[in-house]
């Protein structure tokens, strides 16, 4: 049990500075449970239990959902809605990052819970055949953030594609001289549910390069530079949904004139 004290000290030290931002938020590591509800396509439920509090949360609304073979890092805010279509109070906004910790696959039946009928998320892009509205000028230096799963550089479907589509629409209209893509990684270790979590420093570079490559494909005539920074600090950008940890795991596309 000696590790418990160390652990507690660590938690105290690392959470102190972010305390104000994280008030009312939950963050824990858990093995996901799939509840096999059926309200049509994509209507299954994801549940996770916070070992520290003994509470079960519905984390289905995450833009990147769990894999039943691996633990997830859950980060979220208790939902304003009281409805429990999955049989547990919901976190919303919420994120579930897949960790490399194996889990025993567990599926439970619907047990009468309806799940959620799929609706297209707010952050979805139209097909290329639909013209994007040209954002009005004047145009000046501007930064567009995109966000990632814990320790990953993968462009999140119906999240990052939407952020980038909006950024590119503006960039095509504004015609900056160049783009500087800076990748960030939250490399400072934190203890979560007894698991020491820190993003790899390389994640910062990977994020910069992944997004830079995507920008080169979308606006091939504008030069793209990359930078990366570790020990990322939270921001209060709205598309991180008020989740400080999500805001740390980002890349920024800066349009320079």
């Amino acid at each position: 049990m000696k590790s418990l004290a160390v652990l507690a000290a660590l938690v105290a030290a690392t959470t102190a500075q972010a305390a104000q931002d994280t008030a009312g938020l939950v963050r824990f590591v858990a093995c996901p449970v799939y509840r096999d509800t059926d309200a049509g396509r994509k209507s299954g439920c994801w549940l996770t239990d916070d070992r520290a509090t003994g509470k079960r949360w519905d984390v289905t609304e995450s833009p990147y959902k769990p894999d039943w073979n691996f633990a997830v890092l859950v980060e979220g805010k208790p939902s304003a809605h009281a409805a429990q279509p999955c049989g547990a109070p919901a976190l919303d906004p919420v994120r579930t990052s897949r960790l490399d910790i194996p889990c025993t696959r567990h599926m439970i039946p619907a047990e009468g819970f309806p799940g959620r009928r799929y609706t297209l998320p707010r952050r979805n892009i139209g097909p290329l055949s639909v013209a994007r509205a040209v954002p009005p000028g004047p145009y000046a230096e501007r930064t567009f953030p995109v966000y990632f799963e814990f320790d990953k550089d993968f462009l999140v479907y119906q999240y990052d594609d939407w952020l980038i589509d909006n950024a590119v629409t503006w960039i095509r209209a504004a015609r900056p001289r160049k783009l500087v893509v800076t990748g960030y990684a939250a490399t400072q270790a934190q203890m979560v549910s007894g698991v020491k979590l820190a993003e790899r420093p390389d994640a910062a570079r990977e994020r910069a390069e992944t997004i830079a490559e995507t920008m080169r494909r979308l606006v091939p005539d504008i030069p793209v530079e990359t930078k990366w920074k570790t020990a990322a600090k939270p921001t209060d950008e709205p598309e991180a949904d008020g989740l400080p940890w999500q805001s740390q795991r980002r890349a920024e596309i800066r349009a320079v004139f």
């Binding site: 799939y34 049509g40 396509r41 290329l128 490559e213």
Partner: protein
């Protein structure tokens, strides 16, 4: 069955001598003096604007926009090397511009195995085998498979070397083409065996719906020729990003051309590939697929905008909506068998879209894109393009058709052991056993092992067997594979409805 009058096709300028055009009108595939259904290279036949071929489920119709086309001297039909094959050897009009195993067997029997289709290079299990024996061509004859030789280490679609994040060893080499001094990874080559993909309805396979490849997590790669985003829907392993790269690959491998295709040949090939549309026109059991309120068939394919996502536009296979509730007065004109078949096809379309099941451990869907593992959805989740049933996004998905434990046991295919040197595969872990690494042979990523680009679903009746390695002998075999793979729980009726639907596409 009436042929559509020629003038109903879009009139495009197509330099053909008038005499040829007139001739084509009188020589239909089902006229009195019918040429054989097999198109041999260099015959100089005229490809009519409308060409029908029967198969066991009905009639397949192939439309050549701006046709007829005099194939004499045309690089798709003419052998480009002496006594050689042509593209048409493996892309036959009667087989929905693919090649059925039945046609391969028929050619073997008709020619005593002498047809250029059976060329040692890729029309046999391996060139090192005695070529006059049937057993040396068993993969082509039994499952319609052509040998595909890929470089090792991997090269991407633009020929750039990619450093793979996996190693590959040969566990089993029943055909000798993955070992010995000249073959196999140690010799810089990997042989896999694949079905020819249909060269028709290409505008759909080239259509770009959205700017991203959500399965790879990047914006779409750009075409090296025109700088536009690539659809990513060509070839099982997507090694060719556009038709030029594809035809160059085909010419140097299947045709064993030593010199490059000329610019003129490339133009003719591309022009032709974009003009051909094929689909079932007539079902034996239910009549024409564009009658009684149904709107399927090749003409509509030819005339529609490609690349639409069924979930936000015209639902996939809603062509058959008109057969859902057939009015009594129309039903009275049909035989009970016709009526039942039409209703079954219409139900099949709904089963395809609406019968949900848990899709699990399927890379490209359950990873890395964030749908979750598992995710509840239906056939249409992956087969989502209106009218074609391929994937609007680049369709590299690991259904398990080529990879253990999901693939069926085949002792005549090579088995590779892939070891991931970086991150393990999200579902298989560090070590993967596969008959065909698929897209990983192009991307160099272990996370892509087993991914095969979704084909289109048109003209299926004309081109059994199915899946890239011919795993499913017939359409029922396709449904049975999905049932095994995902424990769907289809009823016998639902299975038959799906089979009937697919037979009418």
């Amino acid at each position: 069955m009436g042929k559509r009058p020629m003038h109903s096709l879009p009139q495009r300028s197509f330099a053909l001598p008038l005499a040829v055009a007139v001739l084509a009108l009188s020589v239909g595939a089902r006229g009195g003096d019918v040429p054989d259904r097999w198109w041999a290279p260099g015959e100089g036949r005229v490809l009519p604007a409308i060409l029908d071929y029967d198969n066991e489920n009905g009639t397949l119709r192939t439309l050549t926009v701006g046709g007829p086309l005099n194939t004499a001297g045309h690089p798709f039909f003419e052998p480009l090397v002496k006594d050689g094959r042509a593209c048409v050897t493996c892309h036959q009009p009667a087989d929905a511009m693919s090649l059925s195993a039945a046609s391969a067997r028929r050619q073997w029997d008709r020619t005593g195995g002498k047809d250029p289709l059976f060329a040692a290079y890729d029309g046999s299990n391996c060139p090192t085998l005695p070529q006059d024996q049937r057993a040396s061509h068993s993969l082509l004859l039994d499952r319609g498979l052509i040998r595909i030789q890929r470089p090792w280490p991997t090269k991407s679609f633009n020929g750039k070397p990619v450093k793979p994040d996996f190693t590959i060893e040969v566990v089993r080499d029943p055909n000798g083409c993955n070992s010995g001094p000249n073959y196999g990874p140690k010799a810089g080559k990997i042989s896999v065996y694949r079905r020819p993909r249909p060269v028709a309805n290409m505008k759909y396979l080239l259509a770009v719906g959205f700017p991203f490849d959500p399965k790879q997590g990047y914006a779409l790669p750009l075409d090296p020729d025109d700088g536009k985003p690539q659809s990513g829907n060509l070839m099982a392993d997507n090694r060719a990003g556009n038709l030029r790269l594809q035809m160059e690959d085909a010419a140097t491998t299947h045709l064993q051309m030593l010199k490059a295709l000329s610019e003129d040949e490339r133009k003719q090939l591309q022009d032709f590939e974009l003009r051909v549309f094929t689909a079932m026109q007539m079902t034996k059991a239910g009549g024409a697929v564009d009658s009684g309120g149904a709107k399927a068939g090749p003409a509509r394919l030819r005339d529609s905008e490609p690349g639409a996502l069924g979930s936000i536009g015209e639902p996939v296979w809603s062509e058959f909506k008109g057969w859902e509730n057939i009015p009594a007065e129309d039903a009275a004109k049909l035989t009970p068998q016709q009526l039942a078949f039409r209703q079954s096809v219409a139900r099949g379309a709904r089963v395809f879209r609406e019968k949900m099941f848990l899709i699990s451990d399927t890379a490209g869907i359950n990873s890395r894109i964030g749908f979750g593992n598992p995710v509840r959805n239906s056939c249409v989740f992956c087969h989502n393009m209106s009218q074609m049933g391929n994937d609007v996004a680049p369709g590299q998905v690991d259904l398990g058709t080529t990879t253990l434990p999901f693939a069926d046991p085949w002792d005549d295919l090579p088995l590779f052991k892939v070891t991931c040197t970086g991150r393990p595969h999200p579902h298989y872990g560090k070590v993967i056993y596969t008959y065909d690494p698929g897209f990983a042979l192009t991307s160099g990523k272990c996370a892509d092992v087993g991914k095969i680009t979704l084909q289109s679903m048109r003209g299926l009746s004309a081109r059994a067997p199915y899946f890239s390695n011919g795993l499913a002998r017939d359409l029922r075999g396709v449904v049975d594979y999905y049932e095994r793979r995902y424990s769907i729980g289809y009823t016998e009726q639902e299975k038959q409805d799906l089979v009937n639907l697919m037979s009418a596409l």
